[in-house]
Symmetry: C2
Subunit: 236 residues, 2 copies
Amino acid sequence: MKIPVMEVFGPTIQGEGMVIGRKTMFVRTAGCDFRCSWCDSKFTWDGTAKDDIRMMTAEDIMNELKAVGGDCFDHVTISGGNPALIKGLSSLVTLLHAEGCEVALETQGSKFQDWMTDINQLTLSPKPPSSGMVHNLAVLDSIINQVNKERISLKVVVFDDADYAFARTIHQRYPELKFYLQVGNPYLDETVSNHTEKLLERYEELIDRVMDDHQMNSVFVTPQLHTLLWSNKKGV
Amino acid sequence: MKIPVMEVFGPTIQGEGMVIGRKTMFVRTAGCDFRCSWCDSKFTWDGTAKDDIRMMTAEDIMNELKAVGGDCFDHVTISGGNPALIKGLSSLVTLLHAEGCEVALETQGSKFQDWMTDINQLTLSPKPPSSGMVHNLAVLDSIINQVNKERISLKVVVFDDADYAFARTIHQRYPELKFYLQVGNPYLDETVSNHTEKLLERYEELIDRVMDDHQMNSVFVTPQLHTLLWSNKKGV
């Protein structure tokens, strides 16, 4: 079964979430069921990069990972778009494990696949109101109930007050799961000036808010390290 | 048994290591068996802040944590100095757990204490050559052999080539442990300009180096988030 691949790149660091800082390769799949207003990878679903999509087998992807990353990786992050749309990723996850790699997955949590139970670090990032999307939490419940909780984290991006309220709701719904609040990046223009400074200001505001909130104690508050380093550059 | 306390502050984020981003309180103990050249908390051992040291019981510390942090915490990080010098921390760790808090500890790993087996996140940071210290790895071995490996991480600060070589040695000695390379901060002057930018440049250099090194695959490469945000400010 072939997999629609948009990008294969790395090794680089995972810039966010439960394995922030981890040396990893990225496989970015094409296609998404969401259309988030502030999506930083719109090219995976808006048609602008449709000529870059390649239909690849798990073996094709493994070969490309080795061609790009050499022997400098033992961890692969599958991101999108929404890779959870792709049933055929089962073969890739199996092959990566056979090759000695850990596998992380990034998805909003709108769809379950059997192979999710094999993912080493599963990040579920339900989308807050500012995205323009409405999340079906029953689906999120269903995923969480089927996967080893030690391997899951929740990540909510926060741009504004309504997003913060949403983050609280999610944390209270699943208090036993590792929970990450991630500062939103509204500056998606490649040419934005003082990007790092602006993001750190927003990050500090989010920290201040969480520190004063006794309903948000067992949480992590994180930036996107890659954005602090490389702004909106692709392929890093 | 009284504990020499230098600072109690928070809640803030843990800026580094295995629980980077975690909302936490800090208890900083006084005294250290090391004298690292680039120590960012020299006041804990160089005598300049000796009038700030308070001898406190576990209950005193718990009361102060509540006075400072209110009900806005469920995680406490014990740092130093080297808190592993203090036998009496046993009572604090027990009390924090009884109060429903997780407890993290930061130490170089030069001394074992029985209470280390109760720490939820134990960060051992053997000091590289640029510190001017020589680490007794037999002691580090002994600590690691007595503590649940799931709860340990190793963290090595890297300033230069020799430090990087040391980091490699440590990672190879304990390949089963979570391993963090942390970019060194040589700019300890409060008034340094463009601190964040300079640190991010050094961080990027370290990332580049690790990404090209096939002997450093199963690793994390991290900055100090608090330093990116707040430079060398104390108490955050």
